[in-house]
Structures are given as C-alpha cells and as structure tokens.
Subunit: 528 residues, 2 copies
C-alpha cells in the first residue's frame, strides 16, 4: 500500500517517439514573462481562525508520545550515508543494523532551525508561491498510475494524457503548482521519463514543479532542469528554493534509501522537502486516529530533523496523511470524519512546531458522483479549517489516488475556487451595508433594478464553472446534464483554449540540449 505519490516506475515502460520540439528562436524574453490575465486566485491567504480537535494537553500528549517512539523504538534508516550523518548529529545508531534512535532534545534542537515560511520560485515570478503562515497553495494531483475521462475510460498513464493534465494545471490560476507527474506516463522508458516529464513541466507551465526522489541522479537532473528553466545560476537557485520533493516515510517507522538520498540532494542545495508519512490507521499505523497521528508525528519529525542535519535552515514542510481503512476490506478510505480529525490534528502539530503544513484533497470514489464530491469537500473543510498551507492532490484525484480524472480535475478547480471565495473577507463597508438601497426599496419592493444592484451585479457573486442552476424545465430541455457532463465538456474546451506560456527561446534551447545530452548518456540506469 502506498500513498501513490511515488512514481510507479516499476511499471514496464517503453521509449516513445519524442514530440518534435518547436523552436521559436530568438533570445531576451523578459517581455514574455507576463502575468496571467486573471490573477485573483494567486496568493491565497486563509485568515479564518483555525479549528482544533486537540486540547493543549492532548497536543502535548501526542507530541510527547511521538518523541518517546523516536527515543525508545527509533526508525529504520535504510541508507548508510544517512545513518552516518545522523550519528554525527548525535543520534544513537545501533551498529550493524539500520536502527537509529533520536534523543528528544536532538529532535527539538533540529526542529528549531526549520524556517516557518519561505518562497518557492517559479520561472514566472508571478507564480512564486509563499509557503507557511496563513498562505494556502494548491497543487495538482500527483502520481496516479491510471488516467480517466468519460469517453476514454480508465487506462494506464501515457505521455499524451500527462501533457494534457499538465496543460490543464497551467490553465487555472487556482492551481498554484503542479505536484509530481499528474499521471505516470508509462509509455516513456523509466530511464529517461524524468527528463521528458520535467522538460514538459518547464515548457507547458510556468509554475513551480516537483521532482521524485528515486535516486540521486534523478534529483540532480531535476535540479538542473529547474535551474535552466528559471535561467539562473546554481548559486542563485541555492538562495531561492525552486523545486520540491515529496519524501514519504515507509510506515511504520522506516526511511528508505531513495527518500533519504532525496533529502540529502535537495536539502543540501536549499531546495524544498515535504516529509509525509502515509499512516493509514489500522494498517500501517495504530487503528486509533490518535495513535496514527502519534506515529505520523514521529515519522515526520524524524524526516524533518534529518533535513536540518543535512543543512540547517533548509526549507521543509510537515506532511500529514493519516486516514482510516475500510475494516471490512482493508481498502483505504479518504475524506472521512476520521480523515478530517487527523487533518486538523496534524495542523495543530505543525503549528506547534511552526513548520508549514502539507495535506491533501482526497476521496475514494471510482467515478465522478456524489461520493467524489462529498469526500472531497469534507477534505477541503478539514484542511481549510485546520490550516493546511500546501495542498497536494488538490485537483484531479479519483479512486483513492489511483486515477487522475480529467472531469474530477475541473470539479476540484471549481470547488477550490469556492473555497477561495469563501475565504475572501466579507465587504462590510458602509456602502456594502446598503442602508441607502434599503431606504430606496422599502417594504415590499424589489432590488433588481436599484442603482446599488446595477453597480454590482456582474461581480457580486462567484460564478461557478459547473453548477447548473437552471430551473427543472430548462434543465430538462437541455437533456438533464449532471456535473459529470459539464465537467467533461469544460475540460475539453479548456484544452482547446490552452496556450503555452512564453519561454525565452534561449532557455528552451539550453533545456533541449541538456535533455538530449542526458538521453545520449542513457538517462539513469534501470533494471529493464
């Protein structure tokens, strides 16, 4: 069982012909770095008072239990270099084993140097994202092995669908960053997949992107692609975090080699690490939500502490991904009441440590039905009220993360925009209170024609993408479309309207040359 944030590189892929890259020629393209036409969903801030499910005492009890786990049981750390670094930092490494125990003082000392906020830099500065505090950032679905739309059904991921999903991520400002491959394109051989995929991230979007930690070479290639994309030096990039990686612990209580290597490569260069245990209560974690959160917290703190052992002050996020399983089948469940509590508890812990908080917009439905919507909105409720800063899988996640759904992507965009509108401060100016309009209309009148209404009606309310508010008769004449039908139409329209964001031709040339050279070198070794 996995969070499905790992690329499914174990799936056999084959080299596909590369799309011929269009060269548009010419240098000096600062003029091309235009902002999006409609930027009202950039830089979201959530000033809503955060909800809690833990009293101060309960929060401390969970904190202390986590530290007891790290001190007494410890973690299995499956990389000699990582164990050596941990030992050097003062951890207790049992010789001849993978086991590392961490004194609670050591953990808290390491945690103390984590920045409470930072900026992730995009190649288009208007797309920079602020992480931490009250900031709220949405990332697209990542790492689904399957992709689905209504006509094509559910199928294995491929490059064409990968590109379409990346284009959709570019098409909406509410999607602040991509987050890994929205679907795993198994038609590209795993040895060079990261080169094609990340090159596409630079070309098809101007947003911050993610690199998988699957061995140092992939990290290094990703770092170089991010640097080229921004057109900066390695030194500037080290000052300006521009790339992020998700580090999943292997619950319970293990950190695998590629993950540890990812922390070393990324943190040492001041890039962003998101440490996320995937603690399903009753499977890889205790069956109680409190127990699962204790274990989540222990694993997250261990990973976060390691980032600071690699480099003090390196940017890192606290990831929470505790949910429950269906105890009848063992299937993971998402967007449940238990998930909501875990999300809010995770937010309390992250705020206790003053570390930016990553969580997810989840559901377990196999299709775009009411369940897909209610589990997602319950997730959004919890992560908004719980103070999530960085929301993975915010749009497109279907089937518990196994499928990237084109229609669900649009549904989620609409719901994320509604959350953003909800979070916008209510206008309570004298003018908004509208006493003059009430005086004008008086008892028994109507507001449609008043000056107060006419001056505002066009922008007064959020205009949803999908909600069908037509009356029953008109809706029936239109063939009784459901949200699924509307979403199916909209994603295709949006893809038709897609335009590549401007990219300095010199950057594109350098990027293509890098990818070509690395391919000529064979990419990264694989066993197939």
């Amino acid at each position: 069982m996995s969070e499905n944030e790992f690329p499914h590189s174990f799936l056999t892929g084959s080299d596909a012909p590369l799309e011929r890259r269009r060269r548009t020629g010419g240098r000096g393209a600062d003029r091309l770095r235009k902002g999006p036409g409609n930027s009202k969903y950039l830089n979201l801030v959530n000033t809503m008072e955060k909800s809690t499910v833990l009293t101060d005492d309960a929060l401390e009890a969970i904190h202390n239990a986590s530290l007891t786990i790290l001190e007494e049981i410890g973690m299995d750390v499956i990389l000699p270099e990582a164990r050596a670094r941990m030992k050097a930092a003062g951890a207790d490494v049992t010789p001849g084993t993978d086991r590392v125990r961490f004194d609670r003082g050591l953990i808290m000392d390491m945690i103390s140097s984590v920045p409470s906020g930072f900026t992730m830099h995009a190649r288009n500065p208007i797309r920079n994202v602020e992480i931490g505090g009250n900031n709220l950032v949405f990332a697209q679905i990542a790492s689904a092995p399957f992709v689905a739309d209504r006509e094509g059904g559910r199928r294995a991921g491929n490059q064409e669908d990968y590109r379409k999903l990346v284009k959709l991520a570019q098409s909406y400002d509410i999607i602040h960053t991509t987050g890994g491959y929205p679907v795993e394109p198994v038609d590209i051989h795993a040895s060079v997949r990261h080169l094609d995929c990340l090159s596409d991230m630079v070309k098809l979007t101007d947003k911050v992107f993610h690199c998988y930690s699957l061995g140092a070479q992939r990290n290094l290639d990703a770092l170089e692609i991010a640097r080229i994309g921004r057109g900066i030096t390695a030194e500037q990039m080290e000052r300006e975090p521009s790339l992020f990686t998700i580090i999943n612990t292997s619950s319970p209580l293990r950190l695998d080699g590629p993950m540890l290597q990812g922390i070393i490569e990324m943190s040492s260069r001041n890039q962003v690490v998101v440490v996320t245990p995937f603690t399903l209560a009753g499977a890889m974690a205790p069956v109680t939500i409190a127990g699962a959160v204790v274990q989540q917290n222990a694993e997250a703190l261990a990973g976060i502490a390691f980032t600071q052992m690699v480099r003090r002050g390196a940017p890192v996020m606290y990831g929470g991904f505790t949910s429950n399983v269906d105890m009848k089948t063992g299937a993971p469940a998402f967007g449940t009441p238990e998930y909501m509590k875990a999300v809010i508890a995770g937010g309390q812990l992250a705020r206790r440590y003053k570390i930016p908080y990553r969580t997810s917009n989840t559901n377990a439905s196999n299709t775009l039905d009411a369940q897909a919507a209610y589990e997602s909105v319950l997730s959004l409720w919890a992560l908004t009220q719980g103070g999530g800063n960085f929301i993975m899988h915010a749009a497109g996640w279907s089937e518990g993360g196994l499928t990237a759904s084109f229609e669900k992507f649009v549904l989620d965009v609409d719901m994320l925009q509604m959350v953003a509108e909800f979070l916008k401060p209510l206008d309570v100016s004298e003018d908004a209170l509208g006493l003059d309009a009430v005086r004008e209309v008086g008892p028994g009148g109507h507001y449609f024609g008043t000056a107060h209404t006419l001056a505002r009606y066009e922008r007064a309310f959020y205009s949803p993408i999908l909600s069908d508010w037509r009356n029953f008769e008109t809706w029936t004449e239109a063939g009784r479309p459901t949200t699924y039908d509307h979403a199916n139409r909209v994603f295709k329209e949006k893809l038709n309207e897609y335009e590549r964001p401007p990219l300095d031709p010199a950057i594109e040339e350098e990027l293509d040359a890098f990818v070509a050279r690395r391919k000529a070198e064979g990419g990264v070794p694989t066993d197939f």
Copy 2:
C-alpha cells in the same frame, strides 16, 4: 419567490380517500415508549470553536444598521391585531397604514427576555430536543411542492409520498424532528390537509413536529393534535413547548397576516416560533451579502421582538436564510461561498443576542449529482462551523427546495452522520495513543493482527451508508454503481424495514376522534 417553507396550499387539491386507520385497542402504553435501538445520534453537541466572518466592529455595524432600519424605515405589519399589540408595547404605528417603526431600545428590551435555550418535547421523551447553546438538531426537508425518486421521476406531492418521507424521517435517529410537510400532499383538500398530515406525524413518528401558520384555526388544530399525541393537558403543554412553527417574513420588511397570527397563537401558548427572513441578495435584499444580512437581521429582530410582545419569555429562534441569486437568470443559488459567509455571519448575530440559531442544508441541483453533494457539504461546513442549532431541510432537499428527493434524503442522512462523527471528541486516552501497539509492531510491521487493532476494528471508524470503497475491478463487476444507485436501493430497503413507533391506543383513539370531528366541521374554510 419564497423559501418554499410555506405549504403550497394554492395548488388545487382534491379529497382523497382516507387510509383506513388501524385500531390496535387497549390503554396504558407507557411501556410502549421505548427508545430507539441505536441512539448514538440523539442529542448532538457541537463543541467545535465557532468560526467568524465578521470582526467585533463589523458585527456591531450590522447590528446598528439593522436597528436603524427598524427605527427609520420600519416594517409593514399586515394585521391590525399585531399593530395594536406593537403599539401597546411602545412601537410607533403610523395611523391608517401598515407601517410600524421600532425604537432600538424597544427591540433590545424585547430581545432581552428571549430564552437562550429550551427543550422541545416529543411524545417519546427520548426524542426531546434541546435547542440553543452547543446543541445541534436536524430537521427533515419541508414544504417541497414536488417529490422525486429515480423510478417515479419528479411529480406533484401526494399523500403516499408524504407518508413515505415521514416514515424515513422516523427511521434515522440523526433526523431529530420532522419540519413541516416534507412534501405538500396536494391530493388532500387544503381544508383538511393539516388534519391528516399532522395526525400522520403523531402516528408515523414519535418526534417533535411543526405546524404551518396559515390562519389561527390551523394553529389551534395543530396545538390540539400535539397535545393529544403527548397525552397531556393544555396546561402541561404550555409549560413544555411541543410544537414549532416557521415564520417567514415577506422580504423586504413585511410581516404578513397569517405569519403574525401564527406568532400570536403559538407564542401566547409558549410554543416555539422560528422567525426566518428569506433574504436573497440581489432580489428581496441588497445585492451585497453584508447588506442582505443587515436586512435579515432587521426582519428577524422585528419578528422575534413581536413574540416577546405577545408573551415575555416565549421560546423563539433566530432564523437566517440569506443566499445569493444567479445574476444571469435571477434563479436562487444555494450552498455557495456567499451562502457560507451569510450562514456564519447569522450565527455571530444570533450568538450576540443569545438566541438559538436556525439555518439550512441547501443545494440547487436538479438531480443527485456531484453538485447536489458539494453544495450540501458546503452548507454543512458553514452551519457547523457557524454554530447552527436547528437545521431545517437537513435531509431530502433538492432543486432549491422545490423537490423532496428520496435518494437525496439518504445521501443527506449519511452526510449528517459524518458531521456527527466529525464532531465526536477525539479519543486521546493513553490507550488510544497506542504506544504499546507501536512497540509491538515496530519498524516495517503491520497493524492488522495486533491486539490493539483486534479489540477496536469493528467500531473504530464510521461505516458510511453509501460510500463505495470497493476497488475498481470489484466495483466494475458490480455494474459501476454511483451514489445515486446506492441511495435508491437504501431508501427502499429502509421503507421496507419501517415499523410504526408504539402509540398508546387510547391516544390514537382520541386523535382519530378529533380529526373526524374537525373534518365533519369542514376543517378550515378555503376558497375552493
């Protein structure tokens, strides 16, 4: 445009043959007053810290603007007796008109005697509901002119569907009370409809019910039916509120005759009045949410103040029903970001006045699709975080309230239960923290077989009614059912399982005799 809480008595109805009442004979049935088998959703309490969208200053600005409206513009009060009572209480009645203006001191004085909480008494005491404070009470959909299920489609309301919906309300503990007629049974003549419908409320449920305020005689009949149902004297009933009525203002700034009469009949007998303006921003209220809430507050305060002019200390609730319209078509919209803010602002106002707060679970979808779910959960989010005490239309509302949907009823029950589970305090006992289980499993293990899991797995998590968590293959083999399919199956199963709650045969006899007598008298006069 109306809230659709009014019975649609303007629809032509015809007398339908009355179902032959079964008499089960015998007296003395206290033994029959059994509690429900599974009572975990009775007496819900919401201890979550309440969210706010208004600063203290903004709250006062809205409060003051409302009082300015009542002082300066006033309300049209379309009932001479009500104007006379208001005048006697100190209001400024303009002779020869309906206009009444209220000094802000008078309003605040009247508001001061409203009880901050009270009990509504059901014929089965285990169904009593606590109103106010942190209590959370869910009422079924009310007043839809249409009813729908998948097979039967959308059709005008009738007695058979009315009874089915009432039976469903009885079948789930999370539905704490019915709330008006779930659908308007237009096949019963309007002159006697209330007699049949309320008699059914007593027989088919043991929960608190509602009476429409459509003239004093209907109120008086309802009061008598509620008294008979409880088997108590009029004096006891006056001490124990047992019946509630929704009073909709006729926005903007009007109180109609039947509504005012309803307040007089109900408040004078210490029964429960829920004053609810239906202030659609841009239609019957200013186009700004703040302005619409100002007007809502003015109208609510006027109605609430009148209850106290009728009888100091009479139980009353502050109703909020501010939403926006689709400015392209004028159609009402529900479960929108604007609705969410209005719900939370209304909660702040109600808490400022220490009056129990009534709000609603809404959506505008014409079918059971993702929209129906996301608009509903956005409503539930706002009303839970905003501190709603009494939630009308909590289950079954479809098509902006025009249709009572059998499938939506079940979907809502599931979602309400999820809200209840979310609100349950998280167990953070030593045992729940699970350190011993973590010690037992250790790094790389699994929790399925541990003693900690085995002791808890059966009741560890909420088991949803509808969510389909099967994997894609199993779900495909099952024919790819959606939430709609599951809800369709479940409501029919639930109706098959329905059993009448025990009722003292003497009470049933008295009830039938009353209804027969009132029918013989012609019920209430109508103009058709």
